[in-house]
């Protein structure tokens, strides 16, 4: 008995060692450090199934290694003919029944969790955000609040926030690994699920369904702030004046260029039904540019001159008047000063 237990212990130790060596990944991105309800439910099931499976694996390996050592052909016994065993009913019953029992141990919590996470009864009393997936960016419409954002979602901590998701083109996946498992964003049949974050912070979201050339660059952020900060943020976002004059002279020129080049044909600032391109409200407070790049002037100018270089296959390339570098810099100046609220990712990190 002791030998068996030893082997099981050694093997599970090896497994944990592998985990430690590889690390658990980046905090607020990895699913291995859950910080929301959905992610926690999934993680519990991941741990349960892993443990059960490691036990099975240990048994298989123990028999396997024993057989290999004990029953290899011995020198001098080349002509030995083993007994031709047909089978053994007792043994075969044992390894049919035990796996069934193990599967029941896994199946019951799986079914319970499936129904638990599909629960939408509280949706009508909660914050609802309509999500639209585009190649290769995200549009968020806060239901009943009359404003829209792109790429960054602000939600309050410790509250169920419901996401109603639909795609405008191909299938995308809405995945914030640290907060919750993923759900499809289909062109038909709106999908709903909720996120309940335990801690404030900036969480990475990713598109997990293959959606074209820039599939790997379709990141978004979920910024979890306190309830008060969230309410302040909503109030600020509702009061955006799209025509507000910038302070610096360069930004004023940028604003004029923004209008001359008809950028707002696709990009709204403030509440608007226009959503051909990302809504640029509060752009200066964005976490990233285009989901993956640092938000700074040089990168933004690079984007304005040639978006294709940053996001292959995006729908902006060649669909706007060509800009010279000087104009691009002015527009960048204008966009970067679009800061419509004091609630930023820093509020989440404090």
């Amino acid at each position: 008995m002791k030998g068996w237990m030893g082997k099981i212990k050694a093997l599970s130790l090896l497994g944990f060692l592998a985990l430690i060596l590889s690390g658990c990944g980046k905090e607020n991105l990895t699913a291995l450090v859950p910080k929301g309800y959905g992610a926690e439910v999934s993680m519990d099931l991941i741990i349960l199934t892993t443990v059960v499976m490691l036990v099975v694996f240990a048994v298989v390996m123990a028999i396997f290694i024993f057989v290999l050592i004990r029953f290899r052909k011995k020198k001098g016994q080349e002509d030995f003919i083993p007994k031709q065993v047909e089978g053994n009913h007792t043994l075969e019953t044992v390894w049919t029944v035990i796996p069934i029992l193990l599967l029941i141990i896994i199946a019951i919590p799986t079914v319970l969790a499936t129904f638990d996470l599909a629960d939408e009864t509280e949706a009508s009393d909660s914050i609802n955000i309509d999500v639209t997936g585009y190649q290769f960016w995200w549009h968020f419409d806060y239901q009943g609040e009359d404003f829209q954002t792109s790429q960054d979602i602000y939600i309050p901590v410790g509250e169920k926030v419901y996401f109603n998701m639909l795609s405008s083109d191909v299938i995308h996946y809405f995945w914030v690994p640290s907060l919750s498992g993923k759900l499809d964003v289909n062109p038909e049949n709106e999908n709903t699920f909720y996120i309940e974050a335990y801690e404030e912070g900036v969480y990475w979201g990713k598109c997990a369904e293959f959606c074209g050339p820039s599939h790997s660059l379709m990141d978004f952020k979920v910024i979890v702030v306190s309830k008060e900060e969230y309410e302040q943020w909503v109030a600020d976002m509702k009061n955006v004046d799209p025509d507000e004059e910038p302070e610096s002279a360069v930004a004023v020129e940028g604003k004029e260029l923004f209008q001359e080049n008809n950028c707002m044909g696709c990009h709204a600032i403030g509440s608007s039904p226009v959503q051909t391109g990302p809504n640029l409200t509060n752009f200066g407070n964005r976490e990233t540019l285009a989901g993956v790049e640092d938000l700074d002037k040089d990168t933004l100018v690079k984007w304005l001159l040639d978006p294709e270089e940053i996001k292959p296959g995006n729908k902006m390339t060649d669909n706007y008047p060509a800009l010279n570098k000087e104009d691009a810099e002015k527009i960048a100046e204008y966009l970067l000063q679009l800061k419509h609220t004091d609630i930023t990712s820093e509020s989440a990190e404090n």
Partner: protein
């Protein structure tokens, strides 16, 4: 006929022989060579993928090319490498195992091969014109809206080769039902024959779903229909159902024959009869049956609701039971045996831990809520490579080492066999084990680049190093294969102390296989004769004339016709001139059918006198 003898006839005659052959053993060679070639292509694509992912934000290849690479890798490996190599092994071995002189329909066997071959060539022609880039699963609407003709090549390539596979499956079914030697009852068939039988049944029922799906996709892309276009009242989810109703059984079409291979190899090298034969057969049948009930576990995150998710989760878990029975029966086959470890056995033994890991992660992804995290990440990539590489590829390599002497009359070099095994085995685990963690750490699949500072660098780096080890292993095997052809040791009829009928005849077998059909007295018929009889099969019939089919070039021409018509279908959306190809190609194909139907071909007989002249 030895390889040397055919070479004497000259290269032209050699090629003509293979173009027209209807002999199951030569068709097996064709499948293995063509499948092997596509395997190398798919492997090269995999290597390019791994090089791109060696470091964060790498720009080794562009996003567009990367998407073509992953699509072609998946499609090639499943449809044009794993499947045909298995069909090749089935062709080479199954008729011998049941004591038959050929398959039931030799002409259709040849047609099946050439359709597969031209389908594969069609798909790969797209490298010169723009390859498909919607993933091997070709989800709508990404596939319906993908610009260029890449996805059209995918559709036509798979449609043409799929027809060939369907024919192959039906052919094997009829062969096993009708052509077993006297005494070879169903419950005496070797497990590889059993799994061929079950996999063929799966082909029969699963491939039509793919055919329908591909036709709908083809109409949407080429003829303006809107089955998957939501804006016009279509539904894009239907494609996923059709694809996975085919796609999940497809996994079992691949893995069950591999199970059969191991079930034949373990008894041979442990010198012990397969433990729990009956349970093994029924476990195979049960896996196949359940395999049709679980397709939607590929779609847990589609939003089917908790009822559907729960049902498919439990159905999927149920498959673990028969699979577990198999694992333990193999272990107990080895238990108490006298185990010889050579290359064939190394691959088989390595399969047990590798595939068990794949099976375990299979249960983990079956738990629907846990799958919300795994789905479409590198965890799933790791899972199915453990199943497909650790199961199917290991099985194929075990089978190649085991049956190589029978198929080619030469023995593979043992040292090179072991070198290839160890490098590939280590490389395989290096590449894929770490990917379980990469997935959970937030790396979705089909990512052209991963970002810096996201904790994904080390894992990806290790994974790429592993891919180089695997490449080295494959190259060593390739060299071994060529070496055996040029300088390999001549193989005796029964190099391993075999138990089944194929080892009762010379290596390679004469083109009529059995001079006299053997009388089968039980499971492992040759073993029975070795231990209880005189070591030779007792003939079940007196020596007499053998009826043989004539070679024919028609299958090649017919497949060529469909191949040409395929280009017509693809380019008729751009140029009217393409209709010439479309109608011309179809005319060739249908004309070939007409010729085949109207022209009687009764074959020929090998006379008793000729057979008597042949030495044993």
């Amino acid at each position: 006929m030895s390889i040397a003898a055919t070479q004497k006839k000259g290269v032209g005659a050699f090629i003509w022989e293979y173009l027209t052959t209807v002999d199951h053993k030569k068709i097996a060679h064709l499948y293995l060579v063509a499948g092997g070639f596509f395997f190398l292509l798919g492997g090269l694509e995999a290597l390019i993928i791994r090089i791109q992912l060696i470091s964060p934000e790498n720009d080794f290849i562009t996003a567009g090319l990367y998407n073509e690479m992953i699509t072609m890798h998946g499609t090639t490996m499943i449809f044009f490498a794993a499947m045909p190599i298995l069909l090749g092994l089935m062709n080479a071995v199954m008729p011998l195992q049941i004591g038959a002189r050929d398959v039931a329909f030799p002409f259709i066997n040849s047609l099946g091969f050439w359709l597969f071959f031209f389908g594969g060539v069609m798909l790969n022609v797209s490298w010169f014109t723009g390859a498909p880039d919607a993933g091997w699963t070709a989800y709508a609407p990404l596939s319906t809206t993908s610009p260029g003709h890449g996805v059209d090549y995918y559709i036509l390539g798979l449609q043409i080769s799929g027809a060939g596979t369907l024919m192959g499956g039906i052919n094997f079914l009829v062969t096993i039902v009708n052509m077993r030697a006297p005494g070879m009852t169903y419950m005496r068939m070797p497990l590889f024959t059993w799994t061929t039988f079950i996999a063929s049944t799966l082909i029969l029922f699963a491939f039509p779903a793919l055919t329908v799906g591909l036709f709908l996709l083809m109409f949407d892309r080429m003829f303006g229909s809107a089955f998957f276009d939501v804006a016009l009242g279509g539904n894009s989810i239907i494609w996923q159902h059709l694809f996975w109703i085919f796609g999940h059984p497809e996994v079992y079409i691949l893995i069950l024959p591999a199970f059969g291979i191991f079930s034949d190899i373990f008894p041979t090298f442990a010198k012990k009869r397969l433990f729990g034969y009956t349970a093994m057969v029924f476990a195979t049948v049960l896996i196949a049956f359940l395999g049709f009930m679980v397709w939607a576990h590929h779609m847990f995150t589609v939003g089917m609701g908790p009822f559907a998710n729960s049902i498919f989760a439990i159905a999927t878990m149920a498959i673990a039971v028969p699979t577990g029975i198999k694992i333990f029966n193999w272990l107990l086959t080895l238990w108490g045996g006298s185990i010889t470890i050579n290359s064939a056995m190394l691959w088989s033994l390595a399969f047990i831990p590798s595939f068990t890991i794949g099976g375990m992660t299979g249960i983990m992804v079956a738990a629907s809520v846990a799958d919300y995290q795994y789905h479409d990440t590198y965890f799933v990539i790791a899972h199915f490579h453990y199943v497909i590489v650790g199961g199917v590829v290991f099985g194929i390599l075990a089978a190649l080492h085991y049956w190589w002497p029978k198929m080619f009359g030469r023995v593979l070099n043992e040292f090179m066999g072991k070198l290839a095994f160890w490098t590939f085995f280590i490389g395989f685990h290096l590449t894929f084990f770490i990917q379980h963690f990469l997935g959970l750490m937030g790396m979705p699949r089909r990512y052209w680049v991963f970002l810096e500072d996201q904790g994904l660098d080390t894992g990806n780096y290790i994974s790429t190093i592993g891919a180089f080890f695997m490449t080295f292993g494959v190259l060593v095997f390739l060299y071994n294969a060529i070496y055996s052809w040029v300088k390999g040791e001549k193989a005796p009829a029964d190099p391993w102390g075999g138990r089944t009928l194929e080892w009762a005849i010379p290596s390679p077998p004469p083109f009529y296989n059995f001079k006299q059909l053997p009388l089968v007295r039980g499971l492992d018929p040759l073993w029975i004769e070795k231990t209880e009889g005189n070591g030779k099969m007792t003939p079940a019939e007196p020596l007499g004339d053998i009826h043989m089919p004539n070679n024919s070039i028609i299958p090649f021409i017919m497949s060529l016709g469909f191949f040409i018509a395929g280009f017509g279908f693809i380019y008729q959306t751009d140029y009217n001139a393409a209709y010439i190809l479309l109608f011309g190609g179809m005319a060739i194909a249908l004309g070939s059918m007409l010729v085949r139907s109207l022209k009687d071909d009764h074959g020929y007989h090998i006379t008793k006198e000729e057979l008597e002249r042949e030495a044993d």
